[in-house]
């Protein structure tokens, strides 16, 4: 990182090295292809961020990861942590040393100082906590999937819809990733040509089974391994890739055929350890998704194939692979390129200029890229502050008995906010959950399922 006092001591090479591809492309009269948020982030780094008192409910591995990311966010004032298993509270204590510890989430909801809660319990436990939190007027970040049944997901989404005075954000963190948001209009504009197909995978060799001191705890902590509490690999993991494909293609799939097996972890679980789903999109486009706990080879990535080019999203980055007969885009001459076996990928990533690559070993290392969860939580806390401010000011100005006018006012604020701190809401959370649960149904039954439009409508 450059020191501030050295910022005026640079030559042309350094300028090109440090500047964004956008600036370079603008100079060359080309196409801007970096996230503009990067420059504003740099400008805002010196500003003091308003703090939001937040609590985390559910302190399993993901809950602790949430605490880690909150710890990096200036806006986060972690006021309380909650888990009904005391050992988890003790284990998380060092990540939030000033937070109140409680085994009862209702204590958090009763605390008027706490403005926001993050629900990271098992999916089957979300509903009661989220509905109570919304009733208590808390902003809610609910991990994805929203629930393990469509009925419960719908109940959550409808409650969030009815409560416009609070922020509801589902844990679809990929939608908050600035790189993905930068990529979205690029893909939707047809830069890949006619869509051909999509492919995504998630491979990790791990059992998903957690050690436990007794049988009661064993059942509680390993909720992911039983179908009556868990939507399995598709619901817990695949939901993100499926949601991304539908988001990028801007269309929902119409049918799904699924397969599943338990090959490696035959330990009494009834959730398969290997799944595969073939989703039909309109106009003959299909997506193949597979996930496995039996192999870690090639880990995880997503591919969107088009007649002109293919995009690969991996490790918080993206690359474009052009077809030989595709038209040359002016900017790509200057873009950074990385080799993948016999292919050359054009980096679609911030700071991905050719000039930067000349002097730095960029390789595939994600470097200092922040995790998607960080961006999701940053957006959530920013939105919590903004909506709380609007609600407080509105009520202070017009009184407490103008809730209809407040809802109308907030609708305008939310519309402006969506263009700003872009984050998904209850509808995106519901649709992604419904899709994942239906795909899981096809996968576990081994059948083809026509995906009816009404399943994705929030009524």
């Amino acid at each position: 990182m450059s020191q501030p006092d050295q910022s005026f001591d640079f030559n042309r090479r350094n300028f090109l090295k440090g500047s964004s591809l956008a600036a370079l492309m603008t100079m060359m009269g080309g196409v801007e292809l970096i996230s503009p948020a990067q420059s504003s982030d740099a400008a805002s780094s010196a500003l003091r961020k308003p703090k939001v008192k937040v609590a985390v409910i559910g302190l399993g591995p993901w809950g602790r990861e949430i605490l880690d990311q909150l710890g990096r966010l200036e806006q986060a004032d972690i006021a309380a942590i909650c888990d009904n298993y005391p050992a988890m509270l003790r284990r998380s204590a060092s990540k939030a040393p000033d937070a109140v510890q409680t085994e009862n989430y209702e204590e958090i909801l009763a605390n008027k100082d706490i403005k926001a809660v993050i629900v990271a319990t098992g999916s089957h436990q979300h509903k009661d906590i989220v509905l109570a939190a919304l009733r208590a007027g808390k902003h809610v970040y609910c991990e994805a999937p929203l629930a393990h049944t469509i009925e419960e997901a719908r109940e959550i989404a409808l409650a969030a819809k009815a409560n416009s005075a609070v922020v509801f954000q589902p844990g679809l963190q990929m939608r908050c990733d600035p790189h993905r948001r930068f990529l979205l209009p690029f893909i939707r504009s047809g830069a890949l040509g006619k869509p051909i197909m999509a492919r995504a995978q998630w491979h990790k060799k791990q059992s998903w089974r957690q050690a436990s001191p007794n049988s009661d705890r064993e059942r509680a902590v390993n909720w992911r391994l039983q179908q009556n509490t868990s939507p399995g690999l598709i619901g817990e993991i695949g939901i993100h890739a499926l949601d991304q494909a539908a988001w990028m293609f801007n269309v929902m799939p119409t049918a799904v055929t699924g397969f599943s097996s338990t090959i490696v972890w035959n330990d009494g679980r009834d959730v398969p350890d290997t799944v595969e789903a073939l989703l039909d999109f309109p106009e003959g486009v299909r997506m193949n998704y597979h996930a496995s706990l039996g192999t870690s080879f090639d880990e995880e990535y997503e591919l969107l194939y088009g007649a002109e080019a293919t995009v690969m999203m991996r490790d918080g980055k993206a690359w474009m692979f052009k077809e030989v007969d595709a038209a040359l885009l002016g900017w790509e001459v200057y873009a950074r390129k990385d080799n993948f076996y016999k292919e050359t990928g054009i980096a679609l990533v911030v700071d991905g200029s050719k000039q930067r690559n000349l002097s730095e070993a960029t390789t595939d290392d994600p470097g200092n890229a922040l995790p998607q969860l960080y961006y999701a939580l940053e957006a959530f806390l920013g939105n919590c502050h903004e909506i709380s401010t609007e609600v407080d000011e509105f009520r202070a100005t017009y009184g407490e008995d103008n809730e209809e006018a407040l809802a109308e006012h907030l609708a305008g604020v939310v519309q402006a906010r969506e263009a700003k701190r872009q984050a998904p809401g209850y509808l995106e959370g519901y649709v992604a959950t419904a899709l994942a649960l239906k795909v899981n149904e096809a996968v576990t039954s081994g059948k083809r399922l026509e995906l009816r439009k009404e399943w994705f409508e929030l009524t």
Partner: protein
């Protein structure tokens, strides 16, 4: 006969006096209008070394205490042209559509210390002719307070009463330096500084209705 005539005259005089008193009473009766939660808008627009910008809020608070025939009465009656008007806009509700700009504005305006832009009317100077109806034109002279610094401001406004409700529309240029605010300069790594220019414009539409009777 003379007595009857005198009695008749006295009755007429009494009736006229009563009517006059009622009229005076009606015009002197003060009505308090409160800001309405719908339809308000304030837009602050400005320029910078890279682009023009705007910030908007839908929240305008405040009250107007006027006589029952306002705003028509303010065209002819100097007292009616001095209603009690207090207005404010919460700084934190001004939004640009860009989070960074909003945060910087709040910092520049020291919103934590001075959370509101405030305005107090001194008098209305009529521009519409007596007897005019609809949206009546005035020059509003008032005290505009930003970041604790008060400046006398004159701006053109229109005031319209319709269905018992008031709508005030106005616009005024201001300078940041009038309020001892240094126009911010934003430094970006490896890019030229961005300077916000001194001249701003405030446009607003403010809707008020009579204060409802307490139930």
């Amino acid at each position: 006969m003379k007595t009857m005539h005198t009695q008749y005259t006295n009755r007429i005089l009494l009736a006229l006096m009563a009517t006059g008193l009622l009229a005076i009473s009606a015009s002197a009766q003060t009505v308090r209008f409160n800001s309405q939660p719908k339809g308000n808008k304030v837009v602050v627009s400005g320029d910078s070394s890279i682009h023009k910008w705007t910030m908007e809020s839908g929240i305008i608070g405040g009250t107007m205490e006027v006589d029952a025939n306002f705003p028509e009465s303010a065209l002819t009656n100097p007292e009616a042209a001095k209603p009690t008007v207090n207005v404010y806009v919460p700084i934190r509700t001004l939004k640009s559509g860009k989070a960074t700009m909003d945060e910087r504005m709040e910092e520049t305006m020291t919103a934590s210390k001075f959370p509101r832009v405030e305005y107090k009317l001194i008098e209305l100077k009529p521009k519409s002719k007596a007897g005019a109806t609809g949206a009546l034109e005035f020059d509003a002279v008032g005290a505009l307070t930003i970041v604790g610094k008060t400046v006398t401001n004159t701006m053109p406004v229109t005031i319209e009463k319709k269905d018992g409700k008031l709508k005030v529309v106005g616009s005024t240029p201001i300078k940041l330096t009038q309020f001892e605010i240094k126009p911010p300069v934003i430094s970006l790594p490896l890019l030229p500084d961005i300077s916000v220019y001194d001249d701003l414009k405030i446009d607003f539409e403010w809707n008020l209705a009579p204060r409802p009777e307490k139930k």
